[in-house]
Structure formats: structure tokens, C-alpha cells
Amino acid sequence: MEAVSPATVDWDEMTDTILEVENLKTYFFIEQGIVRAVDGVSFTLQAGKTLGIVGESGCGKSVTSRTIMRLLSPSLARIVDGSILYYPVKGEPIDLAQLDPFGEQIRDIRGNEIAMIFQEPMTSLNPVYSVGHQIMEAILLHQEVTKEEARKQAVEMLRLVGIPLPEQRVDQYPHQFSGGMRQRAMIAMALSCNPRILIADEPTTALDVTIEAQILDLIQQIQADSEMALIMITHDLNVIGEVADHVIVMYLGQVVESAPVDEIFDAPKHPYTQGLLNSLPMIGREERLEPITGSVPGPHERPQGCAFAPRCPHVMNRCRLEEPPSLIAGEFSTVACWLYDEQTEVVYAPG
């Protein structure tokens, strides 16, 4: 496999860009048919910044992140189109989508330069190895150090993520850790090789608010210290509001809106984004919630035209027939909705 270098990239302008996903499509080929889990997703990630990915279950958030990490089984899921350009510290950008998922090159990057934290710390940690062993495994795989040094590093990582008595805890097994501590151990493992990109897939969903706050603070503090880029995947808009710089909203495998966090909250454009915000209980807001009607269709019930049309309060004839393209909505924002097309006569004023 060889790295692809797009001639169009202007290197002086793009120094900050660390990951560039372009029109990514990941389809599952299963007995019942083809599931378009990720269907044309594009975004860029800058060093030191946080990209939030929101959407309800079944919107393709997690498949997007697993595609970037190349963790999906090739017998089930295939990248049918698009590119995932990763910009290493030195050298040409690498298209992760073109790499062999079992090859040397992706294994050098995965866990080392791009690391991931999963939602369920209990199922992502191996119960038969000590926590320290599992952190050392990542270190020994990617760095040329002795076992003693790796162990020292593992203890340091546990200390960094705020686990008390790390010298003793390092030899304990996952079942001896509480839920919050397991998630900290996962973070310690993910950060052990100083990744340049951290993908956090619902990292606080299974945790209590107090532990959630500890974990979010920890991630943001590490990010501030190391210029690490973060992709935060969550269904919780409050978490997005706290950590994200830029947000993409996904619905049925597509990006329906992409905008800086303030625009998402203050002037949401896509009816789905507006619906999500109106569904969200916000402390201090007294109005009644206005939920989106219906629920996300199943993977084999994808509607014609705009995927959101059957649930959209502003649906027009055109929406049921043609799929809307991503329209430029601002300096840094796009929206995939016919309401914002110049050819469309009805203009909807948000708010």
C-alpha cells in the first residue's frame, strides 16, 4: 500500500490540519442487504482542537470513528469511497482508507498516533490481565523501551489520570477498579504513547455526573498541555457544548450540519439540529420540550430523498424526491437542507 498525496493541498495554509476526512462511505454488506452506515462524511480536524460528533443511535457516529481507526472487519464492512488523510509530523500525508487494516503501517499509527477511548470500560479491558500489563502492552508495542521502563511509564500514566496509589493499582485487575477508575485506566492506556489524535466514543455515558466531570476535566487538561486533537463522539449536547470547538451533526450516516459550536447552539440551521436542541431538557428553561416526532428509521428503511424528511416539520415536496447536497452556510459551516438552497422559494428563518 502506498500513501497518496493530493497535489492540491497548500502546505503553508494547512499546517494545523491533522486529519482530513473527505466523502467517506462505509457500507456493511450483510444478508439482508447493504447498510449505508457512513454515507459521505467529510470534516477536518486541527491540532489542539476538539471536534464534536452528535446524533442519535444509529446515525453512524461510532462507525465513522471505527473506520478512521480501521477497526472494522473487512469481511463485513467496506470503505466504498472517500479518503481519510492523516498528516504525520514528518513526511507525506497518509490515506488511512487505503491501508491494509491488518498491515504494519496502520498498526504503527493505531494506538500510537491516533488513540481511542471506548464507551464501555468493562468490555474494553481484558479481565484476565492486570491493568498495568495492558497499559505496558501499548507502550512496549510502540516504543523501544525495556519492561522496567514501560512499567514505570504505566505507573506515571495512572498517576497522571488521578488514580490513587498507582504503584499498587498497577498490578490490580479491572474488576478491582470502580467504573470511573476503569475509564481513567482506559484513558491512561490511550494516552500512554502521547497520541496526536484522541477519539473518545461516548467516554462518559456510563458514568455518574461527578465522575463524568472528572473525566471531561482530565481530557481537557491533557489536551491543553499537549496540543492533542480530540474527536468527541456523544449523544449528549451538553457535553458537546462544554468541550467542542466545531460540531458535526449526523443523521443516518450523513453530516446534516457542520458549524462552530456557538452557531450550533445559537443559530442552528438544519431542522434536525433544531429538533435535537428543542428536545433537550436544559436547566433554567421553562418551556415545554418540543420533541422531533417519530424515531430514527431502521437501517433498511432509509427514506427516499432527504433522510430526515419524514420527521421534518418544514418538509417540502422537493425533500421527498431529491437528496440535498451540503450547502455553504457560513465561513466555517455547511448545512444539507433544501431550505437553504437559493432555488428554493420558501425561505425559513431560524429562531
Binding site: D208, V209, T210, A213, N238, G241, L276, P281, R288, S295
Partner: protein, 356 residues
């Protein structure tokens, strides 16, 4: 329809010094070696028609209280008085047969609609089952009642013959609501009823619960870990920690003027958008201690940033604030502390302007 309690402010439930200890057994002979003190001396009352939110971290005992009220557990000690037509009845120690008539009045809505519905039963039969158990109506009357319930919870009559796996998560939770309401209870214990649902569906179910309360005069005990959901639905909030009640107050006051350091810590932990940078907050360190061997004195003192010597030795009683009898708090230091509310100073000013 049975008549709704005509006087809305009547006490429907009065709990006094409730304790639920679970034995830990070990060894060959399974001797009891210790107890998990899941609920350890909790007292409160609930007025008819109100919604009480029960919050706290996992392990605080909120679900155990709910299960004691519907008598899935037999409490170790204490009383649970429930208002029946012939006055208040202590249901804490009643046996199975004695409980039968009371079960009509107290129902529970469970968290996970996937595991709380029998996968082999049709939706119509699931909703009709409580009616059958209590011997209400004829077959036809029950069928008519089920159709009305399906309509009330926003599902069509065509759901009758479907199986749970054919429904979405939100639809399944609506079936759970219909089943809980089928025998016209007066008190519904909702145990994390929306936490397994997506945001848009969560909002649909929350609105449904609020509408049904208006329509049927229901009283809810709403257990949830998501404080924004609790704020939306509750009239009053009770904050629990390690099996004890730390603070109870009207919802608005909890968020605008918390009086217990643990409440303050919870409010500070809620993720929140603050324009132009990171929110400055203090974070509660460590985990909740083990309920097998809770700390001495105030159970929160090991994690409390204000703790003094007295907190380590003496257990604070839950007492009403002299300035505000609606707020009850269990803290020695309540008079000297000035705690940080959920809102920033600017937000508070705006809220006050709104209220006026």
C-alpha cells in the same frame, strides 16, 4: 375512572426512618458477615399530585427506596404509610395477600423497556395482564381499556397483536407506561424511565408522563441520575448520598440556592456550555465510599471540601431551614456556608428578571 383525590395537597406517602440492609454472606455455611446499608434512615413525605425527583450517584440508594415503596423489597426497618380510603396504612411489613389491594394504587415504571417486557407476549396481553391479575372487567372491557391506553400513550390500536421486538425503544417504553397505568394507580415510581432512550424520544416520553399526570392526577416519584431531566419534570428534588437524604427543596431552589455541599458538587458537575472558554469549577474527587462500611459522622465528610471536626464524629440530622421551611438539609455547617449555585451570577440575574 376512579375519582382523583379531591384535595391536591393531601399526603399520599409518608416514609419514616426507612432502612434497607442487604446481608453479605460468605464462607461454606453462608454466614452473614456484614450488611450493605443501601438505605439508612430516610424520612420524607410526598403530597398527592406532585412529582418528587430522587437524585444521587449510583450506590446512593435511590433505586432501593423506589423498590421499597412498590414493595419489591421488604424493608429492614421503618414505616411506609400510604394513603388509602380508610386512612394511612403502613405497607412496610404487609405480606403478599395484604399487599394485593395496595398494588393497584402503586405501580412502577422500569428503566430498560427491553428487559421489562416479556418477549413472548403480545403488546395487548402485556398491557392487559395487570387487569387480569386484579380481576378487573370482562374480556371485552379489558380489550376496550387496552385500546384506550394505547391511544393515551400515543400508540395505535394496531399495536395490539405485535411483539416487543417489533417496536422501537421509545414505543416499548410507551408500552411500559400503558401497563403501569392500566389499573389506574395513584402513585407511580419511575426508575430512570428515559435514560435508555435517545434525546428526541426521551423528550416525547417526558411530555407523555407530564400530560398523563395532568389528566389523571398522578403522583410521581422520579428517580434519575440526569439532573436536567429531573429539573424539567420535578416539583421538588431530594438529593441522596450513601443511603441518606442530604437535602430536599423545591426544584428551583435546589438549582438557584443549594444548601448542602454535596448538592453543590452535583450541580458543579453538570456539563454546561459556557461561551468563551472553559468553565471554572471544582470537581468532587474520588468515588462514593462503600455502603458496607460508611464513613462515621456525616457520610459525605470524606469528600466534602468544607468538612470540619464535628462532621467526622456527629451525624447531622435532616432539619428545615429556619429561613425557608420548605428546604430541609442534613449539614452541620449550613449556616456558615455560602454555596455556588448551578447558574452564574449573570444567569441568576436574568432568571430573577424573568420571574418578576
Amino acid at each position: 375512572m376512579r375519582p382523583v383525590n379531591p384535595n391536591g395537597s393531601d399526603t399520599i406517602l409518608a416514609i419514616e426512618d426507612l432502612r434497607q440492609y442487604f446481608p453479605i454472606k460468605a464462607g461454606l455455611l453462608q454466614k452473614t458477615v456484614a450488611h450493605v446499608k443501601a438505605v439508612d434512615g430516610v424520612s420524607f413525605t410526598v403530597a398527592s399530585g406532585e412529582t418528587v425527583g430522587l437524585v444521587g450517584e449510583s450506590g446512593s440508594g435511590k433505586t432501593t427506596i423506589g423498590r421499597c415503596i412498590v414493595r419489591l423489597y421488604k424493608p429492614t426497618d421503618g414505616s411506609i404509610h400510604f394513603s388509602m380510603t380508610d386512612g394511612m396504612v403502613d405497607i412496610a411489613q404487609l405480606n403478599r395477600n395484604e399487599l394485593q389491594p395496595i398494588r393497584r394504587d402503586i405501580q412502577m415504571l422500569f428503566q430498560d423497556p427491553n428487559s421489562s417486557l416479556n418477549a413472548r407476549m403480545r403488546i395487548g396481553d402485556i398491557i392487559a395482564e395487570p387487569l387480569e391479575i386484579h380481576g378487573i372487567g370482562t374480556r371485552e372491557e379489558r380489550r376496550a381499556r387496552v385500546n384506550k391506553l394505547l391511544d393515551q400513550v400515543g400508540l395505535g390500536a394496531d399495536m395490539h397483536n405485535r411483539f416487543p421486538h417489533q417496536l422501537s425503544g421509545g414505543q416499548r417504553q410507551r408500552v411500559g407506561v400503558a401497563r403501569a397505568l392500566s389499573i389506574e394507580p395513584r402513585l407511580v415510581v419511575c426508575d430512570e424511565p428515559v435514560s435508555a432512550l435517545d434525546v428526541s424520544v426521551q423528550a416525547q416520553v417526558l411530555n407523555l408522563l407530564a400530560d398523563l399526570q395532568q389528566e389523571l392526577g398522578l403522583t410521581y416519584i422520579f428517580i434519575a441520575h440526569d439532573l436536567s431531566v429531573v429539573e424539567y419534570i420535578s416539583d421538588r428534588v431530594m438529593v441522596m448520598y450513601l443511603g441518606k437524604l442530604m437535602e430536599t427543596a423545591p426544584t428551583r431552589k435546589i438549582f438557584e440556592r443549594p444548601t448542602h455541599p454535596y448538592t453543590e458538587a452535583l450541580l458543579n458537575s453538570i456539563p454546561k456550555r459556557v461561551r468563551g472558554g472553559h468553565r471554572k469549577r471544582f470537581v468532587l474527587t474520588g468515588d462514593i465510599p462503600s455502603p458496607v462500611n460508611p464513613p462515621s459522622g456525616c457520610v459525605f465528610h470524606t469528600r466534602c471540601q468544607y468538612a470540619k471536626d464535628i462532621c467526622k464524629t456527629e451525624t447531622p440530622a435532616l432539619r428545615a431551614l429556619p429561613t425557608d421551611p420548605q428546604t430541609q438539609v442534613a449539614c452541620h455547617l449550613v449556616e456558615e456556608l455560602s454555596l455556588q449555585p448551578y447558574y452564574t451570577a449573570d444567569e441568576l440575574r436574568n432568571l430573577e428578571a424573568d420571574h418578576v
